[in-house]
Symmetry: none
Subunit: 228 residues, 2 copies
DNA sequence: TCACATTGTCACACAATTGTCACACACATA
DNA sequence: TATGTGTGTGACAATTGTGTGACAATGTGA
């Protein structure tokens, strides 16, 4: 999970960054609107914490520009007197706001709430690799000419995670982060979920793809079409 | 594993040193910024515990100077009232901080967390020498055109250690430190692991490389391509 | 409310890895 | 020759990692 933190107050940005790191996030920092926008495009974060008062280009504009391109969760930071502005912020597509001063714990609570909420939104997309198609919006997996099967939410995210990293080993840490989010899930559940996916896949798509385990490292998705 | 502890308070430094030694670290002490910097250059530690309040040159400056040259993990020691300073410390590249007073257990926990984090930042994926390739991320060893073999975690680290020092004799002490880390491993296990590696390698890559023993000194990896 | 799917938890089997031990052998030294 | 040290080798136990099934808890919709 990557968080982009945009604030020109270095001290505050560092406090937030530190808080996020402790919660297991990877942190990217930006000090002004332009930098924020560049970082958003280059580093592909999962979440943005955006101060409203920024040099060069104010937070609202940044929020709007980013929202035009992406559904990424955005949380605005503002001072209490800006309440009217806040409402404007929601118009521009921010997912939540928090007024300064705030405690790290508050911030994290908001972040989690927002992540929970936005996770449910469904940007209609299909992830494809060779003859494998994962319909993220319909929760369906299809391989070659076989009829598709339905996947549960967790199964879908697991499959997505494996497909994004196809051909590479995916560590349990990454899986847990992608499937359950920070601070939840454990190795036992990963095993269980991998098992359920394998059973489901092997039943419907015999010998098409396999989820391999590399002891001590993680799992790896292989398509039968791959040349070893 | 060597830890450089920088603190002008001898009592505290001794407590920390004792804690680290218990955990199997080798400890180097320094009492001021200048000494710290010299020790950092001369003794090549794996980790630095750095008090912020130091005579001659304060901890932040030391931190900055060291960080300009190296990615070595640095943990700052500070008193609670310095919180703003701490944030400055993060600017300068410290990896974590801990406020006095703290318990030895806390300190060790932080140290381990930091070591875990920083180790991941440096994913050198393949170690190569001549026609020998060691795939660190896949736990695989490949020589010439033979198919690769899987290595266990210990075997991989042993092989890595030998390859880093290829052509030179590696002492058991170094092997133990590199493979098992501080506080674990003994000569018997080194022999055992060397044996297992030799069997595995000779079976798959006959007459390609050899692990030679130099009685009383250590082991040495030789490639058949090397001219003696 | 019930039925059903999904998700989390637990227990157990099995395999790979790692640690421990015993012993053989080579070599040096007295 | 006897003794001791360093090393190689095999057997085995302990530990850890992984796969699997059963079942409870939770959520969801009829």
């Amino acid at each position: 999970m990557k968080a982009l933190i945009v604030d020109d107050d270095r001290t505050l940005a560092d406090v937030i960054a530190f808080t996020f790191k402790r919660e297991g996030f990877e942190v990217i920092l930006a000090e002004d609107g332009e930098a924020a926008y560049r970082r958003f495009q280059d580093d592909n974060p999962d979440l943005i914490i955006l101060d409203v008062n920024l040099p060069k280009e104010d937070g609202f504009k940044v929020c709007k520009r980013i929202r035009e391109q992406s559904d990424i969760p955005i949380i605005l930071l503002t001072v209490r007197s800006d309440e009217e502005d806040i409402l404007g912020g929601f118009h521009l597509g921010a997912d939540d706001y928090i007024t300064k001063p705030f405690s790290p714990r508050q911030l994290i609570a908001r972040v989690k709430a927002v992540l929970r909420r936005t996770k449910k939104k469904n940007p209609a997309t299909v992830r494809e690799w060779g003859n494998i198609s994962l319909f993220l919006n319909r929760h369906e997996l299809k391989i070659g000419d076989y009829p598709p099967i339905k996947l549960s939410g967790l199964e879908l995210r697991m499959m997505d995670c494996l497909m994004i990293n196809i051909g590479q080993i995916v560590t349990p840490e990454i899986i847990i982060d992608q499937v359950w989010g920070p601070n939840a899930g454990d190795m036992d559940m990963v095993r269980q979920l991998i098992h359920r996916l394998r059973v489901k896949i092997e039943k419907q798509f015999p010998n098409q793809i396999s989820i391999n385990n590399i002891p001590g490292l993680g799992y790896e998705l292989k398509s039968i079409e791959d040349i070893d």
